[in-house]
């Protein structure tokens, strides 16, 4: 198969235009993940900076506005994003050095209380026994785990967070305490990174914030730690206020959405209720919602899934915002290239 341009032409208008303080929601299900789409968001914002003469016809899509990107990932580590971006021709580590890009690791040490205890905002002392149980398996290629090493061994307990774990990781998030205070601590850590990028920002440079699967944070804490959908949504509002535009990915698998939204909160478990409230609430705020799903007719050899782009509740019907609703098919090739086409086309 011929290699594909990094940005599918059909998607370019959706990937590159982000009005001020807009929210783009990307929902995925187990069989149709959103990684490739996030990588294309990164590419459309960063590629022209990285390669001075792009050969893919990206010049018109960027509209002359330069962007910086902050990526917060809760489900995938730095190694994964760096490797995958490289396949698209994007060197994230170099961009991080040039302060065009910052990666915030929400996976490795999120519940590692050994590091969390250094936080002054921590109201409860670190509980022994917790780290062993809550250390998360690192997703990604098998080689990633030994290369990173066990987090506790690498990170000094005094904890200088900046760049100690991995070159290119601007910040490693750690969750401590409970309730809104804990979320505030996370927010401050993220805002510090955003502020650093802002210092070096030139005129007209905008910051795009990409949050990969914050629903994991909600699922891992939940009502027992006084964090619900409303608190998470407020946390996201706080981050949104400090950046130009935001892209959020969420899981929209059927049990997480439909159990609570159809049978009511009584018939569902807390995680179903909170997740549904969080996801649907964000869709109400989003300018556009990009929904990924598998084909209803089953697996196909030349189609990976369906991408539906809809206007969210936050879309303003003004003449300046023309967002076409579309349903497209996509196919991820073995080399990581993605082909996007309409139904009936090839």
């Amino acid at each position: 198969m011929p290699s594909q341009p990094p940005l599918p032409p059909l998607l370019t208008p959706y990937l590159s235009s982000h009005p001020d303080s807009s929210l783009t929601l990307v929902t995925s299900i187990l069989g149709a993940t959103s990684n490739w789409l996030i990588l294309r968001f990164l590419h459309s914002s960063l590629a022209s900076l990285w390669a001075p003469n792009p050969s893919f016809g990206l010049d018109e899509s960027n509209n002359g506005t330069k962007k910086k990107v902050v990526l917060i990932s809760f489900l995938r580590g730095w190694h994964f994003w760096r490797t995958e971006a490289k396949r698209l021709g994007l060197d994230l580590a170099r961009l991080a050095d040039k302060k065009q890009f910052a990666f915030i690791d929400g996976l490795s040490d999120l519940f590692n209380t050994a590091q969390g205890s250094r936080s002054p905002a921590n109201p409860t002392p670190a509980r022994p026994g917790i780290p062993q149980r809550t250390t998360l398996p690192v997703r990604g290629p098998p080689g990633a785990v030994p290369a990173r090493g066990p987090p506790t061994a690498q990170i000094p307990s005094a904890g200088a967070p900046e760049g100690t774990t991995d070159k290119g990781v601007a910040q490693t998030l750690s969750f401590s305490g409970r309730g809104v205070a804990a979320l505030d601590a996370l927010e401050n850590e993220i805002l510090a990174v955003i502020a650093q990028l802002k210092i070096s920002a030139e005129d007209g440079e905008e910051i795009l914030l990409v949050i990969d699967q914050p629903d994991f944070l909600l699922a891992a804490t939940g009502p027992s730690m006084d964090i619900g959908a409303t608190e998470m949504a407020e946390w996201i509002t706080g981050l949104q206020q400090n950046v130009h535009a935001t892209v959020i990915t969420l899981a929209a698998d059927s049990p997480l959405i439909h159990n609570a939204s159809t049978s009511g909160i009584q018939g569902s478990t807390p995680i179903e209720g909170e997740h549904a409230a969080f996801a649907i609430g964000l869709a109400h705020r989003a300018r556009s919602v990009m929904q990924l799903r598998t084909l209803e007719t089953g697996a196909a050899t030349d189609v990976s899934g369906v991408l539906r782009i809809s206007r969210g509740g936050g879309w303003s019907s003004g003449p300046e915002d023309n967002l076409d609703e579309k349903e497209l098919l996509y196919y991820i090739q073995r080399d990581g290239g993605v082909r996007v086409f309409g139904r009936g086309e090839s």
């Binding site: 001020d20 303080s21 929902t27 995925s28 299900i29 149709a32 309730g179 809104v180 006084d226 964090i227 619900g228 959908a229 409303t230 608190e231 949504a233 407020e234 509002t237 706080g238 949104q240 206020q241 929209a252 698998d253 059927s254 959405i257 439909h258 609570a260 939204s261 159809t262 009511g264 909160i265 009584q266 569902s268 209720g273 549904a276 409230a277 649907i280 609430g281 869709a283 109400h284 705020r285 919602v289 929904q291 990924l292 799903r293 598998t294 209803e296 539906r308 809809s310 206007r311 969210g312 509740g313 936050g314 879309w315 303003s316 019907s317 003004g318 003449p319 076409d324 609703e325 349903e327």
Partner: protein
């Protein structure tokens, strides 16, 4: 009968929606907008703001979702990390009319009440009626007529009530509201009507499809509906007398009229051509053509009705063999045949 009814509704109910949307005479102190992902309330809120600006009403937006102050808003209150009491305080501080002069009007918009209902920071002593009451009563002595317009996302699951015997928060809102407007997408209403007209099950959209990975089903070009733009408003207005008014309206998209237009833009849904296609001109009189005249003249019809059928006669009980005669009054064009008509 139907036509009279429709013209009556046209006069009264269009006046009512015009009053409600333009906040005249405080017809409705608390309006609840029930929306869903399939038809968000944003365009209707913009319409409220547009009309308020035209009639110089002070607009306050209490923002639970909105980040930026939209055009036309006079005061913008962000609610992040604020308690309900703080929100009320800030809202009353946002507009201080002069205590003399004619009574001022004020519109307080809440873009989504859901976060407030499910927030964990709100303690159990919080009561929705008190919150709305505090928002709409002016703190100063100035004459102020406040209208509250509250949007509620119907599809966002709420939290379970702490007291199992208490009504759900949505029920509470519906009890409190003096007007409820439920929003529907016009193209969906058309698709559902088309299905109903064929006695098919009405289609569902978005979350109700319960299809994995689908949050929103709204695609502009729905097959068979054409470019049906606009919002259908299902209005339930409770009058002070207690009588309720139910009506369906259509609000056209904002691009169809100018921002300064004073004339009413909302129409009845029944008046819409797409929803209620005009019946073809009455050619229904046509009958099968033949050389016979199959119709009846007036006199023939009267005569036919005058015939007493034999079984009525049989019920008189004149004895065996007596009932069941065919009684026939001869007309002038009948000619008597002795042999055949012998009884």
């Amino acid at each position: 009968m139907v036509a009279v009814n429709l013209s009556h509704r046209r006069t009264h109910n269009l006046l009512l929606i015009s009053k409600l949307l333009s906040l005249r005479d405080t017809t409705s102190p608390l309006t609840l907008l029930v929306d869903s992902l399939e038809q968000p309330a944003t365009p209707l809120i913009q319409e409220y703001i547009r009309r308020a600006n035209l009639s110089k009403v002070h607009v306050t937006l209490v923002a639970f979702e909105t980040l930026k102050c939209p055009e036309g808003c006079d005061a913008f209150i962000s609610t992040r990390r604020k308690s309900p009491a703080d929100i009320v305080k800030e809202a009353s501080r946002a507009y201080q009319p002069a205590s003399t002069g004619p009574p001022k009007r004020r519109l307080i918009l809440i873009d989504a009440i859901n976060p407030l209902l499910t927030s964990r920071r709100v303690d159990s002593s919080f009561s929705l009626p008190a919150f709305f009451g505090a928002l709409s009563t002016p703190s100063t002595s100035a004459k102020l007529e406040t209208s509250l317009v509250v949007a509620y996302h119907h599809d966002v699951p709420g939290s379970a009530p702490s007291n199992l015997y208490a009504p759900s928060q949505f029920s509470m809102l519906t009890y409190l509201a003096t007007t409820m407007i439920t929003l529907h997408s016009f193209s969906h209403i058309l698709a559902q009507k088309a299905a109903r007209d064929r006695s098919l099950a009405a289609p569902v959209f978005g979350l109700e499809e319960e299809q994995e990975g689908v949050l929103l089903g709204r695609l502009d070009k729905l097959s068979g509906t054409g470019a049906a733009e606009g919002i259908v408003l299902e209005l339930e207005h409770r009058r002070r007398s207690g009588r309720g008014v139910l009506e369906w309206y259509l609000l056209p998209p904002a691009s169809r009229y100018s921002a300064r237009q004073v004339k009413e833009v909302v129409t009845l849904l029944d008046d819409n051509v797409l929803y209620n296609p005009p019946v073809e001109a009455d050619d229904a009189d046509e009958e099968p053509t033949s050389t016979f005249d199959l119709g009846l003249t007036e006199r023939q019809r009267r005569d036919r009705e005058g015939v007493v059928l034999p079984y009525f006669d049989a019920q008189n009980g004149d004895g065996p063999g007596e009932g069941g005669r065919i009684l026939y009054d001869m007309g002038e064009e009948d000619d008597f045949d002795e042999e055949e008509d012998e009884i």
